[in-house]
């Protein structure tokens, strides 16, 4: 397929979100993405359009520019705003936010919940730069599943955080003495210290010892996860934690998170775990 380009200029109004999604889906289908990937990339476009409208534009006045460029290898999508919105950030400011929150993938806390996760997990690279239209230009690339060549564009240059190696230590801790005279039957507290980053590269080896511990936890047992030196957890680890929580809950136990960083607390809050788990500051 020769390189194809679809360019759209559309009024900055969230009421056009459905139209933008529809067009995006059509283009992704035409570019031969699978149905599943059409759905995912449509969502990425939706998130970017939402942010361009809400933060970088004046509703009904500004114009948002979208471009889809694709060939046999994959797709490059670009979206630009004019930067006139009351909450607009410059490209440098947005990149600074991205770098600051890279560890938690909370890239755009000021520009849309979920965008960071979605972009990180579902694209092959994202770039933020100044737009010729005055605001921000954000682009992402996605290779077709069967493409063999390198990506069309290098992944976004983020500050690389080199964490200390992840350490997991299992330390049985006796339950704290109860102040009441009536004895309360409680299971043990098992403390596991985590540090560094937990991502797809080390997920299996980090999850396994914790999962084994959860399996043998007695009724009423408390799994205390020390997050004080933990920099980053990915969504799969969060999902595993939710599964452990449900298992322990069925046995009258719970999970205690010790000293989570603000970034990790933000992620736990996003998925609703912050108010479910016991947090020890």
């Amino acid at each position: 397929m020769e390189k194809q380009t679809v360019i759209i200029a559309i009024t900055a109004d969230l009421d056009y979100s459905g139209l933008v999604r529809h067009v995006a889906n059509e283009v992704f289908e035409h570019a031969h993405f699978s149905k599943a990937w059409c759905g995912r990339l449509k969502l990425v476009v939706d998130e970017l359009f939402m942010n361009a409208c809400r933060y970088g534009s004046i509703k009904g006045k500004s114009v948002v520019h979208l471009a889809f460029e694709y060939d046999d290898q994959g797709m490059r999508f670009t979206i630009e705003d004019d930067g006139t919105g009351p909450q607009a950030k410059s490209a440098e400011e947005l990149k600074a936010v991205i770098q600051k929150n890279a560890a938690s993938m909370d890239v755009t806390r000021t520009s849309g919940r979920g965008l960071a996760l979605i972009s990180k997990m579902w694209t092959d690279g994202m770039v933020v730069e100044k737009s010729q239209h005055g605001g921000i230009l954000i682009s992402f690339v996605k290779r077709l599943e069967n493409a063999e060549s390198p990506p069309l564009m290098a992944p976004m240059a983020l500050e690389v955080i080199t964490p200390e190696p992840l350490q997991v230590t299992v330390t049985p801790v006796p339950p704290p003495p109860t102040a009441k005279a009536t004895p309360v039957v409680k299971g043990p507290v098992v403390e596991i210290k985590l540090s560094g980053e937990i991502d797809q590269s080390n997920l299996a080896e980090r999850i396994a010892p914790i999962a084994s511990q959860v399996e043998i936890m007695p009724n009423g047992g408390i799994l205390a996860l020390d997050f004080s030196e933990l920099i980053y957890i990915n969504s799969t680890f969060i999902g595993a934690m939710a599964g452990w929580y449900r298992s322990l809950l069925e046995k009258g136990g719970t999970i205690r998170i010790i000293k989570p960083s603000p970034q990790i607390k933000e992620i736990l809050s996003l998925v609703g775990l912050l108010n479910v788990l016991e947090i020890q500051e």
Partner: protein, 124 residues
């Protein structure tokens, strides 16, 4: 052209504390207030114990809507009230998995399965 969704609420026959919320169409930031308007009175009604969301015909939802579901889960689970997702498609499954919400909220492949799960929850 705001995004369109039709939201209807039914009580399970003989079980007024179980609500089935049918969502048809697409949900995003533009019609999330409409969704909240329907749900918030049910959240405020403490007699409603189980919320079954029939998502069979929900074609799309974005992160704003996921955020609202996370809020619902957090708010309701504090008081032993439950949510069940029923019949969602691959697109909805993808975003729920991405943020881990699928691990927190029970899901059922069929509406009948969700209703059965609601009965079980009520007896627990």
């Amino acid at each position: 052209m705001p995004t369109e969704a039709t939201i209807t609420v039914h009580s399970l026959q003989g079980h007024g504390d179980v609500k089935i919320i049918n969502v048809v169409g697409e949900l995003d930031e533009t019609n999330l207030p409409q969704f909240e308007e329907v749900l918030n009175p049910l959240v405020a009604d403490e007699s409603v114990k189980v919320f079954i969301f029939n998502l069979m015909d929900l074609k799309f939802m974005n992160s704003k809507v996921v955020g609202y579901f996370a809020y619902l889960y957090t708010t309701l689970s504090k008081f032993q009230r439950r949510i069940i997702f029923a019949c969602y498609n691959q697109n909805i499954k993808d975003i729920l998995q991405l943020v881990g919400l699928d691990k927190l909220v029970e899901s059922q492949a069929t509406l009948e399965g969700a209703i059965q799960a609601a009965y079980v929850m009520k007896t627990q």
